[in-house]
Amino acid sequence: MTTTILFLLFALVTLAGAIGTVTERKLFHAALWMLLSFFGVAALYVLLEAPFFAAVQLFIYMGAIGILIIFALMLTRGSMREGGPYLNDQWWLVALLAVVLLVVVGWLLWQQYGSVMAVHAVDEGSLVQLGRVLSEQDGYALPFEVASVLLVMALIGAVTIVRER
């Protein structure tokens, strides 16, 4: 019972954050709403008994990405004139399509997975298992290495793009 309540609570928080991010006129507040949404998601991970991911979520999204976005906001402060429309002119079409998509996909998901319940508990050492999977040869070692290369590339790319000539 409590988990349902908790789920609903966290879902509410996440969605509220998301909607806030999307509808907030002031960008800084939008960023804060986003952070709130990330926090909600982290809470969801805890509910899904994936504590490591909750921490990672906090660590990466709240810590790195959120900050980066706020940082970018600060860098491009000049353009944030408050007045004027903050939505472009075909937002209603997008809204419509988004709702349609949500309804369709939601309905399908409800049909498909409505009754699937969490069967067995998660054993404690899932984190160790994850570590092993990521580093084993036949597991996800290669994608893991590629991800690291990707990150280095992103690092160098970002620096070169933004470097003051």
């Binding site: 507040h29 804060l32 952070l35 921490a55 660590f59 709240m62 810590g63 900050i67 940082f71 600060m74």
Partner: protein, 404 residues
């Protein structure tokens, strides 16, 4: 006698039995107990902070050759013990000025988050032996702590941004650079510990230090962790966030009264958290003599270690000069990060081999010794590298032939 030996736990049990007997359903009782536990854990750092304020003033005075708070003027209790209370009252009663241009929501939210992130750390710190002496024995204990340390950055940004003045904005930028930068060596240092201790769980780490504290096995990672943590909370050597000479009060400039107090307390809470963390991870947490027989002593030991670390913090605060921003960044990116990575690369395989070669508890000391040796070697290596770099950078005078 056994009650006292494990006083806190027993008190807890007693209370619960009291509630159950008072007719609450066991779950409800458990719920109430968890709430009570949370409150207790939350207020524990506050208590330490109050004491810390006094101790900080006394110690820094002594270091500075001053008396510090004393009752020479009016009565301030023995050694000025009442000083913190006076401060608190001052904070509450000071006028709370809010400038017009500020952005209200983040402006108000920032101090709260700072304090919250500091407090959240304590949920994982083991106060004593046994499961009931720890808030939540999370599988990712250490990593959880790391996660929340980044939350403080958000708070600084909000504060810096919302106060709508140049100094706080600049301070926000500096905060981003510093905190994000120093997270990396802190995390890598913690990784070294995790590698040796074998688990992220705080209680497991404390158990690993049963025979020998990790500080002896991993002195270099401990030092890196300490420095990085001080940078995280913006204490003296890296006190660029609200350094008076340049940024008035950094992100705190527009705050006054109680909000500023929150920041002040937040800063101290940060220091306490770092010390607690260091104590738990490197100094063995509640481990100490006689703790097996008298579990209560564990908490005492923990408090003493934390106080000791706070002394070290105060020492750092009072003696070290403030770094320039480029020195700070260079120190991090050019020295700490590479050093910590090297350390990890050396210690991880070494430890992996050691656990294979010298298994079991009777070889603990041997393993510790070898790890210590490795640390010393790495230290000497870095020393040599730094020396070479130093020599190359000094400009030797060039002989220039001056034609007659």
């Amino acid at each position: 006698m056994d009650f006292i030996s494990d006083a806190i736990v027993n008190i807890g049990l007693w209370l619960e039995r009291l509630l159950v007997s008072a007719g609450l359903a066991p779950q409800a009782a458990a719920l109430v107990m968890t709430i009570v536990g949370t409150v207790v854990v939350a207020f524990f750092p506050l208590l330490i902070v109050v004491f810390l304020i006094w101790m900080y003033r006394k110690a820094s005075a002594r270091i500075g050759g001053r008396l510090g708070p004393n009752s020479s003027g009016t009565w301030a209790g023995p050694g000025g013990i009442v000083q913190p209370i006076a401060d608190v009252i001052k904070m509450f009663t000071k006028e709370d000025i809010r400038p017009l241009g500020i952005d209200p929501v983040p402006y108000n939210l920032a101090p709260i988050i700072v304090v919250a992130s500091a407090v959240m750390v304590w949920a994982v710190v083991p106060f004593g032996k046994g499961p009931r002496m720890i808030g939540a024995d999370l599988g990712i204990g250490l990593f959880y702590i790391m996660a929340f340390s980044s939350a403080s950055l958000v708070a600084f940004l909000m504060a810096g941004w919302s106060s709508n003045n140049k100094y706080s904005t600049v301070s926000a930028f500096r905060a981003t650079a510093q905190l994000l930068g120093y997270e990396i060596p802190q995390l890598v240092a913690v990784l070294c510990v995790v590698v040796v201790a074998g688990s992220l769980r705080m209680s497991a780490i404390v158990d690993a230090q049963q025979d020998v504290i990790l500080l002896i096995a991993l002195p270099l990672p401990a030092l890196i962790f300490l420095l990085a943590s001080y940078a995280e909370i913006g204490s003296r050597p890296f006190e660029l966030l609200e350094c008076e000479s340049e940024l008035v009060a950094g992100y705190q400039t527009e705050y006054s009264g109680m909000r500023w107090g929150m920041f002040y307390v937040g800063e101290f809470m940060g220091a306490v958290a770092v010390s607690a963390l260091f104590a738990t991870v490197f100094l063995g947490g509640w481990r100490g003599p006689f703790v097996d027989s008298f579990p209560v002593l564990g908490t005492l030991w923990l408090v003493l270690k934390i106080l000791f670390m706070l002394l070290v913090w105060t020492f750092f605060q009072m003696t070290l000069p403030r770094l320039r921003i480029d020195q700070m960044l260079a120190f991090n990116w050019k020295f700490l990060v590479p050093l910590s990575l090297v350390l990890l690369c050396v210690l991880a395989p070494l430890n992996h081999w050691l656990v294979r070669a010298l298994p079991g508890s009777d070889y603990v000391w041997a393993r510790t010794g070898i790890l210590l040796a490795a640390n010393v070697l790495v230290f000497l290596g870095t020393w040599a590298v730094v020396a070479i770099a130093e020599r190359r950078r000094t400009v030797r005078p060039r002989q220039v032939e001056v034609s007659a």
